[in-house]
């Protein structure tokens, strides 16, 4: 069970140690995020929750999905996709924040009716 195991064609084989280690880390981080959610951390609440989720996601991607040992191009593909998601969400958020006041004004008006 060494780390040097390779399947035919040179693909990397995950050792049980790493698999179980990652699994343990994921369980620990899940517990951590539940624990942290029970304490009011104020503004950084969301940041902490998303930070933990991102660490978990990276562990899954790098080890369970073999990205660490895989062709660099596959990583580029996924990071590229995330860049587009980021651009999409951030542009929409930016725009909505700009016109929110126009919605609020109308909401107040409608509630007054």
């Amino acid at each position: 069970m060494s780390h040097e195991e390779h399947a035919a064609g040179g693909a990397h084989v995950m050792s049980p140690k790493v698999l179980l280690g990652i699994w343990g880390a994921l369980i620990f981080l899940t517990a951590l995020t539940v624990w942290s959610a029970q304490h009011d951390l104020g503004r950084i609440d969301l940041v902490v929750a998303m930070g933990i989720a991102t660490i978990k996601a990276s562990l899954v991607a790098l080890y369970f999905m073999h990205l660490r040992y895989d062709k660099g191009f596959h990583g580029v593909v996924i990071i590229g996709a995330l860049v587009f998601v980021f651009l999409f969400v951030s542009m929409v958020l930016l725009d909505r924040n700009q016109y929110q006041a126009d919605i609020d004004a109308r909401t107040i008006e409608l509630e007054a009716r």
Binding site: Y99, D102, I103, A105, R106, T107, L110, R113
Partner: protein, 322 residues
């Protein structure tokens, strides 16, 4: 009267008359882009034609060698268009900022769009279906929609802005030319989208046709018309017909035809007589007594309608009894 005024100003091959301050700026930029486009179009098509003729295929004549790329040429034809579009962007952007930033203290008119009519409310609470504005005054539209998305479009002002449900949008302009212009709905809104057309009347500053005179007289329509006619106008202006028909067909609300004096059942059981008190209460507190078979969807007119209007409306409803 005003509506019969001829369409003012002269249009060109491309545009209708310029009837607002910003229109000239928009047109100038349009013409700039147009000249640039025509220039490049002609340039490219001329070169293309020359090449196609000069280098047409001839028996036994092989194409001559020419470079497969030329850095100087490629930089030139990248940089020149870039410079031009940067100018277009900048001018368009500043023009847009002006268009989208209403000046403080502008004369404010409320716009409510609904399928498929426009409603304009002036500061004194008077409403019309045709937009009236004074010439030379910065005028701001504060717009919202009752149902789907519409768009406020006055070609002569070069102004267009969508009108959305659930929020306000704004448009502003300074009319420069007295006259009557088209006002379209430019965002597809269903069956009668293309009939959602009305007019903008730009009034002169002084004289009998001035905006102030018009507003005073038009707001006073109740004192001039008979109660029944006045009530009918209230019915039209306030958009009652959207839900309450005059021909007996049932909409979101009961038809007014022959309704007066009848006894109706309320949603929660008791009966009510369709009389002055009921009508008045229903206009001011529509959800208080909802007739059986209808949803409580009517908006309140509390604070939006004058007592005289309600009185006139009641006279009009009475006249529908037969």
């Amino acid at each position: 009267m005003m509506l019969t005024l001829a369409q003012a100003g002269e249009g060109t091959f491309w545009f209708p008359a310029q009837a607002a301050e910003n229109a000239a700026k928009v047109d100038d930029l349009f013409y700039f882009v147009l000249y640039v486009s025509v220039f490049f179009f002609l340039l490219i098509m001329t070169i293309l034609s020359i090449f196609v003729i000069r280098y047409r295929r001839r028996e036994g004549v092989e194409p001559e060698k020419s470079p497969s790329h030329n850095t100087v040429l490629e930089i030139v034809w990248s940089v020149i268009p870039t410079a031009l579009v940067v100018y277009m962007f900048y001018t368009g952007f500043t023009g847009y900022l002006e268009k989208r930033t209403p000046p403080t203290g502008a004369y404010e008119i409320g716009v409510t769009a609904q399928k498929w009519s426009w409603n304009f409310t002036y500061p004194n609470g008077h409403t019309t279906n045709v937009l009236h504005v004074p010439v030379g005054v910065e005028t701001q539209m504060v717009m919202t929609s009752e149902d789907v998305i519409h768009s406020f479009f006055v070609p002569a002002f070069r102004e267009k802005m969508d009108v959305l449900p659930g929020r306000y949008t704004k448009a502003w302009f300074t009319p420069t030319l007295v006259g009557t212009y088209d006002l379209f709905c430019a965002e597809y809104c269903g069956t009668a989208h293309s009939e959602m057309i009305t007019k903008v009347v730009v009034h002169p500053q002084d004289g009998p046709d001035s905006f102030e005179n018009w507003l005073r007289e038009d707001s006073d329509f109740l004192t001039k018309l008979s109660p029944v006619e006045g009530g009918k106008k209230v019915y039209q202006l306030r958009g009652c017909g959207q839900c309450h028909s005059l021909d007996g067909t049932s909409g979101n609300g009961p038809s007014f035809k022959g309704a007066w004096g009848t006894e109706r059942t309320l949603a929660d059981g008791p009966k009510v007589v369709f009389d002055e008190n009921y009508v008045r209460e229903s206009i001011l507190m529509p959800k208080a007594k909802v007739l059986a078979g209808y949803e409580p969807v009517m908006p309140t007119f509390q604070g939006r309608i004058k007592d005289e209007e309600i009185t006139a409306l009641i006279a009009f409803l009475k006249s529908l009894q037969q």
